[in-house]
Symmetry: C2
Subunit: 219 residues, 2 copies
């Protein structure tokens, strides 16, 4: 398969294709046209064709896409055919929510270890995984072939934890702390900044309200 | 202030400016140049000037930006000078994590009510807010001037809850369920699809690994 550099915008859309195709596959759908997919996904058909053309000739003009093939191939592009081993740092509510979300495991993301500094949590189990002391972090990461660290801790602790993970040779960090991490180029970071997302919603509500009440805008 | 249509890409970046400017303000910084801000935020100075020019003349050539003014103005643009009243639907781990995150309240997002269908949770308190039965949802939303619904429930329940919120005249939905909601145009939805974010990380790790091992790519 010939591959070119793909923009992060396209990559951001791939998981959504994967999600919809998985649902179509589960309903027994075998082929789908870009028009049909467009109707379901509320994206233009030309956007769909453009996005999928980035990877290879998934579709055949006039015949549409083979759902299962496209699903499998996008899964491979997303690296979902390989298992990832995760450590979760922070066993509070957010950490527990993530640990309990079974779907990640179905996609090959295995939570191997959970860590916290809270003595009341250490030794307890979350989904049968014992919460360990942060002192064990480095040895655990190295012994268990961990490639992703998940940070569900406050920002100062997250900066510190990221440094320690990087020094153990981790490949990726899934960061929920409200801070941008400075890590070497070969460590990939994906941020989930919940406040940022809520502010974006606030902007859109505010802007929509203003446009409804005329262009005068200011209140 | 004259305002033009702003792209969602710029809007997505605003909360990050707001976050950095808040931190600068807290350290007592009064003025900052786009170059300096560029160094801290790891965005080009020209991107910063372009983004901020969308709104008004925040900066003055050669003098840089007034940190506090810029912080306040971006806050207003994001609608953070107004209070938002939220209901949280789903009092599980994720719902509790969000309810306990005090920073939202500091930004004007007040969680007024928490709802669940789980009889074991109903009547309990999360941060002094009692968990209510879903039967009370409509009357509560109308009585308490709620404008945002937060969905931290599985996808089928989320689709149903969104319908009920829309029928009560809610303005925005902050959706954590792994589904795209179909709502009328005047209801703004901001999605936090955690699986999508994790898959994007997986893609980047996978791709980085392949590029390191040469352009042959396939494994």
């Amino acid at each position: 398969m010939e591959e070119k550099e793909i923009s992060q915008a396209v990559i951001s859309r791939l998981p959504r294709y994967f999600r919809y195709l998985g649902e179509l596959k589960d309903t027994g759908k075998e082929r789908i046209s870009s028009q049909e997919l467009s109707g379901i996904m509320k994206v233009t058909a030309s956007q769909i064709r453009q996005d999928l053309n980035n990877f290879s000739k998934f579709g055949q003009q006039g015949y549409g896409y083979n759902v299962e093939f496209l699903y499998t191939e996008i899964g491979k592009i997303l690296g979902l055919h390989k298992k990832h081993h995760l450590v979760l740092i922070g066993a509070g509510n957010l950490g527990q929510a993530i640990a309990n979300y079974m779907n990640f495991e179905k996609r090959g993301f295995i939570i191997s270890g959970i860590f916290d500094i809270d003595q009341d949590l250490i030794g307890k189990k979350v989904r049968d995984i014992p919460v360990r002391s942060m002192e064990e972090l480095e040895s655990f990461v190295k012994e268990h072939n961990i490639d992703i660290g998940v940070l569900t801790i406050p920002k100062d602790a997250a900066v510190e934890a990221a440094k320690r993970l990087v020094s153990c040779g981790i490949h990726g960090i899934w960061n929920f702390a409200h801070v941008d991490l400075n890590v070497p180029e070969d460590v990939l970071v994906e941020n989930v900044h919940l406040s940022d997302s809520l502010m974006k919603l606030s902007y859109n509500i505010n802007r929509y309200g203003e446009s409804k009440s005329g262009r005068s805008g200011k209140q």
